[in-house]
């Protein structure tokens, strides 16, 4: 299977994809190409279209226009296509009255794994995921994190050529997140392509080769991670935690400020290259006592997203 994967130049190609929902939401005119071993991150705030796009790539939703080919085949119902996809959807869906192992066994067997191979791989994956002790427990008794880890086991067991993961680190503890990153890096080295829908800036920066920013269903920027980071290199993000709301007009008028946005009680400000955070404080002169906390940090993909769209990514705040 891996030999096939490595010899295919493009595992997945999507052209002009759109899926519209009532109320004007959806995704519009999206094209992407996925090569063996490549890791692509889909980033954007909630409602930006990440999940819709991932579902279309995972054959769970049909585009209203555009075309997707998987391994050169455009029939999304073809079992030979689906057999080579590993999917973790946003909502962990399991048979709650069955045990974790029964669930994983059922899904493994759908991908035509023989008894011995399924048992061997599941044993290894249950150990890896930390679910070994809970494998005979009913899924109804699992926590959300355990259910998501079980979804990962089910997505990985048949060693797919393409992994499509929706928010894979959501509800995982730090240790599990590191294990997942390590596993994905290893899979990528052996030719497995990965598409992640995530708001986790650190995850995207660590493992993605390319990132696609989605906003209101459209691609606002796409590129290799180092290339994208140069767009905000030298700038800084300032986070101000406020005791009471302030207007952003004065801040936005500053040439030193590239973007400013307020989320809850925190104001996020992306400073231009070489700008001094003191310039921000100068604007707040007289109201500076409203600031209860201030943080300055190096820029990341979340800051670029803020700069491009004026909207902060939920996880980019941390």
């Amino acid at each position: 299977m891996k030999a096939d994967t490595a010899s295919e130049r493009s595992l997945l190609q999507a052209t002009g994809l759109a899926r519209a929902y009532r109320g004007g939401k959806g995704v519009f005119d999206i094209s992407l190409r996925l090569s063996p071993g490549e890791v692509i991150g889909l980033m954007g705030p909630n409602g930006s279209g990440k999940t819709t796009l991932l579902r279309m790539l995972a054959t769970a939703a049909t585009p209203t226009s555009g075309q997707i080919t998987w391994f050169g085949n455009s029939n999304h119902r073809d079992p030979s296509v689906r057999r080579r996809l590993g999917i973790m959807l946003d909502q962990p869906a399991h048979f709650e009255q069955m045990t974790g192992y029964q669930n994983a066994w059922f899904f493994a067997r759908q991908y035509r794994l023989g008894d011995g191979l399924a048992r061997e791989r599941l044993d290894e994956l249950f150990r890896w995921s930390g679910l070994a002790e809970a494998r005979d427990q009913r899924v109804a008794e699992y926590s959300l994190g355990m259910k998501r880890r079980l979804s990962l086991v089910e997505a990985l067991v048949h060693r797919p050529s393409i992994l499509l993961l929706d928010e894979p680190t959501l509800a995982l503890d730090y240790r599990a997140e590191l294990d997942l990153i390590e596993r994905l890096q290893l899979l990528s080295l052996t030719g497995t392509a990965v598409v992640l829908a995530t708001n986790d800036v650190h995850l995207a920066e660590r493992i993605c080769d390319r990132v696609i920013f989605l906003h209101q269903g459209r691609v606002v920027r796409e590129g290799h991670v180092p290339e994208l980071l140069t767009e905000v290199a030298g700038s800084k993000e300032v986070q101000l935690q406020m005791n009471s709301p302030i207007g952003l007009e004065n801040l936005r008028a500053l040439s030193a400020v590239e973007a400013a946005n307020v989320e809850g009680d925190t104001v996020h400000i992306v400073l231009a290259r070489g700008a001094n955070p003191a310039q921000v404080l100068a604007v707040l002169n007289g109201t500076a006592d409203l600031v209860s906390n201030m943080r300055v940090r190096r820029p990341n993909l979340g800051d670029l997203f803020l700069k491009l769209t004026g909207v902060a990514l939920p996880a980019a705040r941390s």
């Binding site: 579902r55 054959t59 048979f95 009255q97 066994w105 059922f106 899904f107």
Partner: protein, 236 residues
Amino acid sequence: MMLAGTIWQRELVEFAQRRRALVVKLAFPLLVAAPLVLSRAPTIYAALALTMLVTIVGAIGSGAVLTRERQSGLTLRYRTLPVTPGRLLIERLSTSALIDFVQLTPVVVLVALRHPSGFAWWPALLLSMAAVLLIGNLLGAVASTLSDSPGEVMLYVILPLLPLLYLSGVFSPPEQPALLTISRLLPFSYLYQALVGALGGQPNLLPWETVLGGFGFLVGAIGLTGRLGRRVLETD
């Protein structure tokens, strides 16, 4: 621990693991049927009540289960499996109909023990019951795409069933030729006739005609289930 590697095995494993539900499922039809079969209830009324029981058992279960699965995201997960929607739905609904059949087996046994002289009708009874159960499951599956609420889905199932049962001649024998023809085009009429025969009454059809009707509807239901796979599983 029982492991299920196929869709139909999984349905059976889950059914077998829910012991309390299993007992209730087996006891419920028997509780309804026993007074009808053991007492001196007129055959046509007993057959009417049992036809309704079989129809409702088939339709309600699958409708509620599929609605819950749609809400929990399992339908979406099923959609990504390397199995065609038609095959998937046939496997799921035929297993569900089989479980319903098992659930109703004590009732059939009771009928056979109480009226052994009606043995000529048993093949017709088994076939037409299988057909009605599969069609009921299919109706429930289609209804599950219409609403997110299991209660509402049950309503969508019952609403068309009542006029269909009437048109099948279950409530009163069709007298006009047009109604008689319509009744022959509906699977419930064959089940009703088979039950009347098995309960020792005077049906309007011969056993072989009822066998043929039941068999035809069973094959037709399997084909229709395969055709409706996409409609049921790919509707958001």
